[in-house]
Amino acid sequence: MSELLQFLLSGVTVGAVYALVALGFTMIYNASDVVNFAQGEFVMLGGMITVFAHAAGAPLPLAALTAVVATAALGVAMNKLAIEPARGAPVVSLVIITIGASIFIRGAAQLIFGKQIHRFPAFSGEDPIRILGATILPQSLWVIGGAVVIFVGLWLFFTRTLLGRAVLATSNNRLAAQLVGINTPFVMTLSFAMSAGIGALAGVLVTPITLTAYDVGLAFALKGFAAAMLGGMGNPKGALAGGLIVGVLEAMTAGYLSSQYKDAAAFIIIFAVLFFRPQGLFGRQSTDRV
């Protein structure tokens, strides 16, 4: 019994990390249909900038805030310098541009921050919390809490605010959105700033658990992307559920089957789901007018 609970807690810890990363994909995807492969780099920057700001003497909350703001600014710069000049290009080209941006950010991070692995202290102590013979770290609760708060925030943003609707409208049909008076360049800038900010916040929350280095972004992006696809790209609910499902599946496979098949089992389930529901668990069915 305590074993099952431990596997579950382990899965939720990992799953919340995936969910946080997956949530970051939502904004940009909703505004432009672009899957931003530099999302993992935003997560890396969130952790790295916090590490260095903290080491330079800033208290942890201030260091974290610096990291989120700086990364959001970088997201805006990426949009202005790389995405906007290629505005007329098809989505595939834009996706490839984001891959280029991710390689660039990783290389720059290697030069600026070096190749060492870093971490900073957990927010509320390191002592594990015991629940019925199983344990979980307080930082995991921060990660789970962070994922839920961002999820609720995004959900309210997209369903309850005019700006959120404007983002969805832009993704639906940019020309029509412009015609009804939506400032689409601003929507794009906003979505990059928010995506980068969410990514950086994810990095701040997970670094005490996962540690960080200049090259962790790719692994985050891959698992987060898988989680987002499973849940349904662009849907915050899907990102949260997809992340948790992938995490728990991995932990259960490692616990009851064998850790050798951990990644394989998760991906087989993802394939199976996408085979029957290509839009993901919570994705909207898309129809194209011919």
Binding site: S10, V14, L211, A251, M252
Partner: protein
């Protein structure tokens, strides 16, 4: 004006050419950038530092050493090209390098064909097993790390262990070697789990090992952040069994990453370089280790690493062999390297033979235990 420039340039050329009467050219292909840069960078700095130091002292029998170093970025194809260039264009008499096993294998093929002595700085046992006439290496193998750990386990009466290994090259190779030599020490591996080096949490695997009947100790072969996370999870689950890490994490960075409370009591095999301050005054390695540590840390301002130590030892073996051979002919150097006996380096005491081109035994590893956030020697 142009004439003046030409004259000046000619004069400069003549001035440069005169002192280069006799020099010994040693080549190096290291991964100073790229994914293995944390290995290759201290190696290159070590070689440059030692060459400058030796030349300042007058070189070998009055002949200066000229180091021709290339950065292969960890790419085996580049390493092959550079090895060919070193031999054909730069006409070196010996090569040091091959930061990784991949680049080593490329250089090895070229060096063996050209009959140029080659000392590798990479870990895999395949480099010197079977023995190739011109290839040597300085780092101990992962099989020796397994043997050292199992030896220590036997002393504590441990016979049944669980293993949790990284799936990266280092972890997978050591996992395989440990499974191979475990029966020699009467050790039974009752749980064998793995993790991806990028995983965020390994409590599931550790819970499974904890729940396996009869496990007396846990061993974690791995490299990078994986072992730090495994160690934190081990502490989180309050597993009350002896915990062993590999030489892959033998650095102060590991203690900081995993946290002082989590690493208490962790044992691992490390080199003398890591515990320079703890060595006995009559330890044969002590003078060298102290001198290298002091020189490297004052020249570069960064803490000394095991990897730079491998390059230090390769250069030491090479210059020792050239001195004894009294000649800088590749064949003479090779024979002299093979005749090296009882030469103390930072990694261990080297004794080569025609059957053994590694030259180290288990005494090269010191069994270390982390106590109160610092290293202690296990007697």
């Amino acid at each position: 004006m142009r004439n003046l420039l030409t004259t000046a340039a000619t004069a400069a050329l003549v001035a440069l050419a005169v002192p280069a009467l006799a020099e010994i050219r040693i080549g190096a292909s290291l991964s100073a950038t790229g994914p293995a840069a944390f290995l290759g960078d201290p190696e290159l700095r070590t070689l440059e530092m030692l060459v400058a130091d030796l030349n300042a002292k007058g070189g070998i029998d009055g002949e200066k050493i000229k180091l021709v170093a290339y950065d292969d970025g960890g790419d085996p194809n580049k390493a092959r090209t550079f090895a060919t260039r070193l031999i054909e264009d730069d006409e070196v008499v010996a090569i040091i390098g091959g930061t990784t096993t991949g680049t080593t294998m490329s250089i090895l093929a070229v060096a063996e064909e050209a009959k140029i002595p080659f000392i590798s700085l990479a870990g895999a046992i395949d480099i010197i097993d079977p023995v190739k006439p011109f290839t040597f290496k300085t780092p101990h193998t992962d099989r020796m790390a397994c043997q050292k750990i199992f030896e220590d386990m036997r002393k504590r009466g441990i016979g049944r262990i669980g293993m949790i290994s990284g799936t990266d090259g280092f972890g997978a190779s050591m996992q395989a070697q440990c499974k191979k030599v475990a029966p020699d020490y009467g050790i039974e591996i009752v749980a064998d789990e793995t993790y991806d080096p990028r995983d965020a949490d390994m409590t599931a695997q550790l819970t499974k090992i904890k729940g396996t009947a009869g496990v007396q100790a846990v061993l974690n072969p791995g490299f990078g952040q994986g072992p730090a996370i495994v160690t934190r999870n081990y502490w989180q689950l309050a597993i009350d069994l002896p915990f062993y890490q590999s030489h892959g994490v033998a650095s102060d960075g590991f203690i900081q990453l995993a946290g002082i409370e989590a690493v208490e009591g962790v044992r691992l095999p490390g080199t003398a370089l890591l515990v320079a301050d703890l060595l006995a005054a009559d330890d044969p390695q002590k003078p060298l280790v102290d001198a290298y540590k002091a020189m490297f840390e004052s020249k570069t301002g960064t803490p000394v690493s095991t990897f730079g130590g491998y390059a230090h030892d390769a250069f030491l073996i090479m210059t020792d062999a050239i001195t004894r051979a009294g000649s800088a002919e590749p064949a003479a150097i090779r024979d002299a390297i093979e005749a090296t006996a009882g030469l103390a380096g930072t990694t261990g005491v080297y004794t080569f033979s025609p059957e053994d081109h590694l030259g180290l035994d288990l005494s090269a590893f010191r069994m270390l235990e982390i106590r109160g956030g610092t290293w202690t020697l296990v007697e």
